[in-house]
């Protein structure tokens, strides 16, 4: 995990340093190009493919939320499916019972996610590492049956929602409208996450992850920042849940089983746990791999998830994005365009801070 951290640190250093202008302009072109491409993409695809890509983006937001907590703050959650469900049900109940328009359900869902995260983050201050994993695992397991128990959630049957129509006058159909709607939210989410993580808050989170005691000694209010990380993370995931309820048009307890929470963790591990862009790779993985695997056998999605987890932890613990980031930096350094970069990345590959004696009985 720490290796991922140093990679990020080095990238940040680069952005702050001398090479900023050159890298910045090229990057900006690439980003704008990508955004235009992604916005135009649904017009060349079938309805079902558009729906699938919309799901990918929703999962990307959820995984991004998990990355903020686990990757950048070092708190493990196996229960983000529960927060995803909280967002989905907030949107569904508001739409179904109170006739709230779909777009207006996002702020309440965000609020519910944030509040639940704070509530959960407070006791989580006392648990570390495996303990937190345990509590959140228990939450993931308990989510479906809690949802079934209450009547206002629609019990076992869940709630059916009317699929929102595209605004008239735009001349696009429902699926493409929802794609663009989710796409805008995804861009917003990435922007907010990047700003948070590159700023004071993000640095505090990473400092706590890398060395909680040193962070506290530097004057960081660890309890406050850890709770805040929890709330922010679950806010992202709850918004993703609300989007999923809107796009799928249906919520039911069994969709929010342990498998969903594990999916987020797998997506996070595959994409790169301490990266922002890793969420998108994770989203693709979660959406498409189980579908393909289902054609082989019922058991295959679990098996492939399990194998992916083992393989990535052994061979590529920083995930796809986390592993390619340093590679790109290295290539850039080799081309001799930014001498400063090579120095920094060399530093970051040699100096690997190791966390020791954490919670170990001495």
């Amino acid at each position: 995990m720490n290796d991922g951290a140093s990679a990020i640190a080095s990238e940040k250093f680069v952005a702050d340093g001398d090479a900023r202008v050159r890298i910045g302009t090229w990057r900006r072109f690439a980003v704008v190009g990508l955004i235009v491409l992604a916005a135009a993409l649904p017009f060349g695809l079938s309805n079902y493919q558009v729906f699938e890509l919309t799901q990918v983006m929703i999962y990307a937001i959820a995984v991004l939320g998990l990355n903020i907590l686990t990757g950048y703050n070092g708190q493990i959650s196996l229960g983000h499916g529960g927060f995803f469900a909280a967002g989905a049900y907030t949107a569904a109940v508001l739409m179904h019972r109170y006739g709230v328009p779909y777009w207006a359900t996002l702020p309440p869902a965000a609020l519910v996610g944030f509040a639940l995260g704070l509530l959960f983050g407070l006791p989580a201050l006392r648990f570390e590492g495996p303990y937190l994993a345990l509590v959140t695992l228990a939450m993931a397991v308990a989510t479906p049956q809690t949802l079934k128990y209450f009547s206002w959630t629609g019990g076992n049957q869940g709630l059916n929602l009317a699929k929102p129509a595209a605004p008239p006058g735009l001349g696009i159909d429902r699926d493409r409208w929802l794609y663009l709607f989710v796409f805008v939210i995804l861009l917003l989410a990435i922007r907010i996450a990047a700003n948070l993580l590159n700023g004071r808050t993000g640095r505090a989170w990473m400092a706590i992850r890398d060395h909680p005691i040193a962070a506290a000694a530097m004057g960081i209010d660890t309890a406050r920042y850890k709770t805040l990380a929890f709330g922010t993370s679950t806010l992202f995931t709850a918004v993703a849940g609300a989007l999923s309820a809107i796009v799928v048009g249906f919520v039911a307890p069994e969709s929010f089983s342990l498998f969903l929470s594990v999916s987020f963790l797998v997506g996070s591990a595959v994409g790169g746990i301490a990266t922002i862009a890793g969420g998108i790779i994770g989203g693709f993985f979660i959406e498409f791999v189980p579908n393909f695997a289902n054609d082989i056998s019922d058991a295959a999605p679990w098996a492939i998830y399990g194998l992916a987890m083992l393989l990535f932890m052994y061979a590529m613990p920083r995930g796809v994005v986390g592993s390619f980031g340093p590679l790109v930096a290295w290539l850039r350094a080799r081309s001799g365009r930014a001498a400063a970069v090579s120095e920094v990345s060399a530093l970051s590959t040699n100096a690997k801070p190791r966390q020791t004696s954490q919670g170990r009985l001495e």
């Binding site: 995990m1 720490n2 686990t70 070092g74 493990i76 196996l78 006791p123 006392r126 648990f127 570390e128 590492g129 495996p130 303990y131 994993a133 345990l134 509590v135 695992l137 228990a138 939450m139 397991v141 308990a142 049956q145 809690t146 079934k148 128990y149 005691i213 342990l258 594990v262 963790l265 591990a269 746990i273 056998s297 019922d298 058991a299 295959a300 999605p301 679990w302 098996a303 998830y305 399990g306 194998l307 992916a308 987890m309 083992l310 932890m313 052994y314 613990p317 966390q355 004696s357 954490q358 919670g359 170990r360 009985l361 001495e362």
Partner: protein, 289 residues
């Protein structure tokens, strides 16, 4: 009153099963600081092995013993091949790897044995005892657990290898200096934990019926028991498991619908961690900087 006592005794029987699995968890935690999320699925897989043996007309207790041996070897192989590489990795890597193991075992069982419920024979007759206070099956489960505990106590107290394992868990560096092969002790520890888990699986299968998702709830209760007793204390794990079993039954009978049983476990875990993070019998964790 009669209903109350009945529920307490049947709670003790399921508690004994949770206690066994909790004990397996604690053994691994003490030795490696690692919570094995795959413990339940490993036990489930062992139970399928026992089921295959019983179906192949092997007498029950022979199948039981054979399964324990196979699980012991399987547990050792898992430690050697899968766990060793992440032994000193950050917590997250270890958690992800054991969750991955959980998924693989679950999928493997589903693929090999299908997801249909299988009936699993109980070695004990189902007769009411002592004025229907408890059944002979409950008594049998409790007896098997007690025998296993006694054997483990003797093993860790009076045998050289048991003492060496305790030393390796308590202070790996000093143990190594005394000539104890710490790595080998960890491997044996995983084997033992797998065998203990297999016992729990075989005891619970006649009650829950056998399917690949059988151990999900049981594992959660076992975790709760281990935390309640203090995750560093084997005695605590057993007592914690029993308390959880009885609580689960009483709460389910008197307070709330049984669909919320798992939610009760979650609330119990949070309460324990907030008010007594070291559990009832655990030692406080001291961290040096």
């Amino acid at each position: 009153m009669h209903l109350f006592l009945q529920q307490v005794f049947s709670g003790l029987a399921s508690g004994a099963i949770y206690a066994s699995l909790a004990l397996a968890l604690v053994m691994i935690y003490r030795a490696t600081d690692l919570v094995n999320f795959a413990q339940g699925e490993m036990a489930m897989f062992s139970t399928y092995i026992a089921w295959m043996l019983v179906n192949a007309a092997v007498p029950f207790w022979a199948a039981f013993a054979l399964t324990l041996v196979i699980s012991f070897i399987g547990g050792m192989i898992i430690e050697r091949v899968v766990i060793r590489p992440v032994e000193n990795a950050p917590v997250l890597a270890a958690v992800v790897v054991t969750i991955g193991l959980l998924l693989i075992f679950n999928a493997l069982a589903g693929w090999l044995f299908t997801y249909t419920l299988q009936e699993f024979p109980s070695p004990f007759p189902d007769r009411p005892l002592f004025g229907a206070l408890l059944t002979s099956r409950d008594l049998g489960v409790i007896a098997v657990t007690l025998v296993m505990l006694a054997l483990l106590f003797v093993f860790f107290r009076f045998t050289t290898i048991g003492l060496a394992m305790r030393a390796a868990a308590q202070n790996p560096a000093s143990a190594r200096l005394c000539g104890i092969r710490v790595g080998r002790m960890l491997t044996i520890g995983w084997g033992l934990a797998a065998a203990i888990g297999a016992t729990a699986g075989i005891m619970v299968a006649p009650i829950l019926f056998l399917d690949p998702n059988m151990m999900g709830g049981v594992l959660l209760y076992a975790f709760t028991g281990a935390l309640l007793g203090g995750i560093t204390s084997p005695v605590g794990a057993v007592i914690g498991g029993l308390i959880v079993g009885v609580t689960e039954n009483l709460v389910g009978t008197y307070l709330i619908a049984s669909q919320l049983k798992l939610t009760v476990a979650l609330i119990l875990i949070v309460i324990v961690l907030v008010f007594r993070p070291n559990g009832l019998f655990g030692t406080a964790i001291v961290r040096r900087v």
